[in-house]
């Protein structure tokens, strides 16, 4: 099956362009072909990309959103430094994250026993590290506004900051969806970290971005561009679906 898929990718490549000049129109046609033909290899790459990024966003949200909400409501010494650190970590270079996670998960590293290096799980770990600060910082930003509105009333009800966190998360759910999408966008567009910890193994850890990097390496710029367009289409579709969901729910909620 993989051989067949590989051949199809190859055929797409041959059909792509015999010359060496990258041609955006050719790339468009190739991208269209990849999508409409339902190319098996591309399909499995797309599926893995979505699985890894969705799982990473879900895990990062479990930590990042409550942390962001807590930072929005609680006042304690060390809060400012924590917020500044979170802001700085948003710009964490993916390659550095990749390297750190690589050293952690390597068989010679402290978490080598998990046997996760060069697996989709390792890519999830790297993306979680990368986007948790983003989710925490953006959700704090969003929920601080909500807390300004709710704070007095909730404290009047006797809610401590810890008890206010779930209320803010639930009532801020529509804005937080945008925060999650930002995390998803960053996760799915990232290449440096997943390349290092995933290894870009065909049929196992090859995702959209590493596939694009590989085709660029091979000098097949039209195919690389076509894969890029497929990735953009998917990210666009995910965003559109989420936005639609949000609008529908919000119209009901007011």
């Amino acid at each position: 099956m993989r051989q067949q898929a590989g051949r199809r990718l190859d055929r797409g490549r041959r059909a792509g362009h015999p010359a060496t000049v990258p041609d955006i129109a050719t790339a468009l046609a190739a991208a269209f072909g990849l999508i409409t033909e339902g190319d098996r290899a591309v399909l499995s790459i797309v599926t893995l990309s979505l699985q890894v990024s969705f799982l990473a966003v879900a895990l990062a949200a479990l930590v990042g959103l409550p942390l962001g909400a807590f930072l929005a409501v609680a006042r304690f010494p060390g809060r400012r430094p924590l917020i500044i650190a979170g802001n700085a970590l948003m710009g964490l270079p993916p390659v550095v994250v990749g390297l750190l996670v690589y050293l952690l998960l390597s068989r010679s590293g402290p978490l080598g026993g998990w046997g996760l290096l060069f697996s989709p799980g390792a890519m999830v770990v790297a993306q979680v590290v990368l986007i948790t600060p983003i989710l925490a910082t953006l959700s704090r930003e969003v929920l601080e506004g909500l807390w300004e509105e709710y704070g007095e009333q909730l404290r009047s009800f006797g809610a401590t900051p810890r008890l206010a966190v779930p209320t803010l998360l639930w009532d801020g759910r529509f804005s937080l969806l945008t925060v999650l999408l930002a995390g998803f966008g960053r996760a799915s567009a990232e290449v440096g970290a997943v390349m290092i910890v995933g290894g870009n193994i065909e049929g196992h850890t090859r995702v959209m971005t590493t596939a694009i990097a590989l085709e660029t390496s091979k000098g097949d710029l039209p195919l690389a561009l076509a894969l890029g367009m497929v990735l953009m289409t998917i990210v666009l579709a995910v965003n559109a679906a989420a936005q639609l969901l949000r609008d529908l729910a919000q119209r009901r909620q007011g």
């Binding site: 509105e149 709710y150 007095e152 009333q153 404290r155 009047s156 009800f157 006797g158 809610a159 008890l163 209320t167 639930w170 009532d171 759910r173 529509f174 009901r252 909620q253 007011g254």
Partner: protein, 237 residues
């Protein structure tokens, strides 16, 4: 009216609060007993909202103290000028504070139903709360407070943004809650409203308690020139 187990009286001694070097409240001494509504009146900037927040414990005083001197644990609720409604249904809003107040789950449904009936929102129970009109929103805030069955209800200018009809509805609800034995402590800048609702009046001026008297006495024979001027509709500053 005083119930056997009560947290009242609520006593403030030497209460002061300043922000940015400006004293906003000074040397406030109050004893608030169970009974008919206490209305806090005074010109804008007199410190009415601030005093309510200090009494409710939302703010810590810069000087002096506030204490419940009865034997029971205090049960208080507060309704704000702009109702703070959660992004949920009317019913969920009314039920929201009950678990925080330790009300057993089995009792919550009945309390919510009664409170919504009291404010006339039973039919809208499943509506999103933030879709209600301004008057309905404030009635929901009152229902949410009533569901707690508080011993004291603080109200900070609850009708300031309402039209006359909605104000009349809100006042009726406040009077009903009061008749059920709940102590009302409410600020207003509307003299007519104070006349309609007050059992006693606290007149605040420039951060001090100018007068604290039974309503008839205050309105007929104010003992300070400032209160007399305020009642005459003169500008005070």
């Amino acid at each position: 009216m005083r119930m056997p187990e009560t947290a009242l009286p609520l006593v403030a001694r030497g209460l002061g609060f300043s922000a940015g070097g400006t004293a906003l409240l000074r040397e406030i001494d109050l004893v608030l007993e169970a009974g008919p509504p206490t209305l806090i009146i005074g010109p804008n900037g007199a410190g009415k909202s601030l005093l309510l927040r200090l009494l409710h414990g939302l703010l810590q005083p810069g000087a002096g103290w506030v204490r419940w001197q009865g034997r029971a644990a205090p049960r208080a609720a507060m309704v704000f000028q702009r109702p703070v409604l959660l992004r949920r249904s009317v019913r969920a809003n009314a039920a929201f504070p009950l678990p925080l107040a330790g009300i057993p789950a089995a009792d919550r449904g009945l309390r919510v139903a009664e409170a919504l009936a009291l404010v006339g929102l039973t039919d809208l129970a499943d509506r999103p709360a933030r879709r209600l009109s301004g008057g309905e929103q404030q009635r929901l805030a009152l229902a949410r407070a009533a569901a707690l069955r508080p011993e004291v209800l603080f109200l900070d200018e609850p009708c300031a943004s309402l039209d006359p009809a909605a104000t009349a509805a809100a006042e009726y609800i406040i009077q009903t809650i009061s008749r059920q034995g709940c102590k009302i402590i409410m600020s207003t800048h509307d003299l007519g409203q104070a006349r309609r609702l007050a059992g006693e009046v606290i007149f605040l001026h420039q951060g001090r308690v100018c007068e604290h008297a039974a309503a008839p006495q205050f309105f007929q024979a104010p003992s300070t020139p400032q209160a007399a001027a305020f009642l005459n509709g003169e500008l005070l500053w």
